[in-house]
Point group: C2
Chain length 236, copies 2
Amino acid sequence: MSDFLFYISQIPKNQIFDLSDDEAGHLRVIRPRIKQTIRLTDGQGNLLTAKITKITKRKITIEQIGIKFIEKPPKPYIHLALAPTKNLDRLEWLIEKCTEIGFNRLTFLFTQYTERKHLKTDRLRRKVISALKQSKQVWLPQVDDLTDFSEFLASTEAEQKFIAYVDTKNPTHLIQVVQPQKTYCLLIGPEGDFSPSELEEALEAGFQKVSLGKNRLRTETAGIVGCHILNLANLM
Amino acid sequence: MSDFLFYISQIPKNQIFDLSDDEAGHLRVIRPRIKQTIRLTDGQGNLLTAKITKITKRKITIEQIGIKFIEKPPKPYIHLALAPTKNLDRLEWLIEKCTEIGFNRLTFLFTQYTERKHLKTDRLRRKVISALKQSKQVWLPQVDDLTDFSEFLASTEAEQKFIAYVDTKNPTHLIQVVQPQKTYCLLIGPEGDFSPSELEEALEAGFQKVSLGKNRLRTETAGIVGCHILNLANLM
């Protein structure tokens, strides 16, 4: 059995089917052989075992051998909401690392100090898929488009709601207040942080102000660190 | 006072001195003005306050106003030792993120499965300096050259020594065994992990096998996550 995990957007009805061009390309990297067994996921909990039946220059055909469904635990549920960085590389990196570490949903926030007014999420979604495969998971995190800050506050229903905010007078660290087995929402501000009125609005909406550490962190570092703390809280 | 921190490799003897070309370049980005106050660090605990006295096309001259020494706590002391990735970008990210989060020393390991036989650390050291400034710290972490694995094991004297190793049969998580206020050394393997004989050698040298989470992490993600856990253990 190959140590690699491949992706299919949907489990086909047919026992025998062709891989997408993307996945066939990835598979060719590991020099596939006829009769070799591979594993695939649809990112919806299904783990498929299949055998390679045909390799041509244009297509790779596989045949399903077995399928297993892996239940998603309802909690912890980690929802990150983050103002996108100017630099797209940093966002791609953030999303790759958060997928490896583990999260459920990421919403990009349009805030007062957000410099980026548009965001194409296609490339970011592809990054999530490739990190999912690399870290061998079967549940694909959700990535939302750019959403207005106030609209987002009104819509979220997590049991624990946090806003990361640099405030030397009130340095309650996220690790000190997060409880295990909850649904979480964590807001991360843009390079210039949230505005004081946005902070006020979040506090009124039931968000709790937290610190992510003593040093000033870049937005994408804050995202990774926050995501990691929410994971760790469910291990201890 | 500007919100930025600049770097000088050494505190000059003279009250009045010129910034290096690099730092002058960084300062020009924020449109410096005569009489503006800036802060600089030498990465050795010194925080210098200075006034800009002269700006020409070639040079920026500053005058020292005050200097403050910030003691480095002897513990926690975080020493990461990691097999470098093939891809240099990933190492630069690792080092930037670990600097933001906080660490003391990074040694690159040459192991059985390390694909990279040579490593130029100059560029990585510059990344550390720029992340130090960005995260406003005054103690520069140390970056060592590529070191042979066995040689390294014999030389390290940390109070708590860990080796991250993917082992489903023994998943003791680092967060469960790390104690606060210690000196730490954490080994992170290459893409193909440490070899069984290297693991054996590390265990004999007093290293404890630990997991960094349920998912398979890339080398650089493991480095960041491990560094973050060692920081968090000193907060809780």
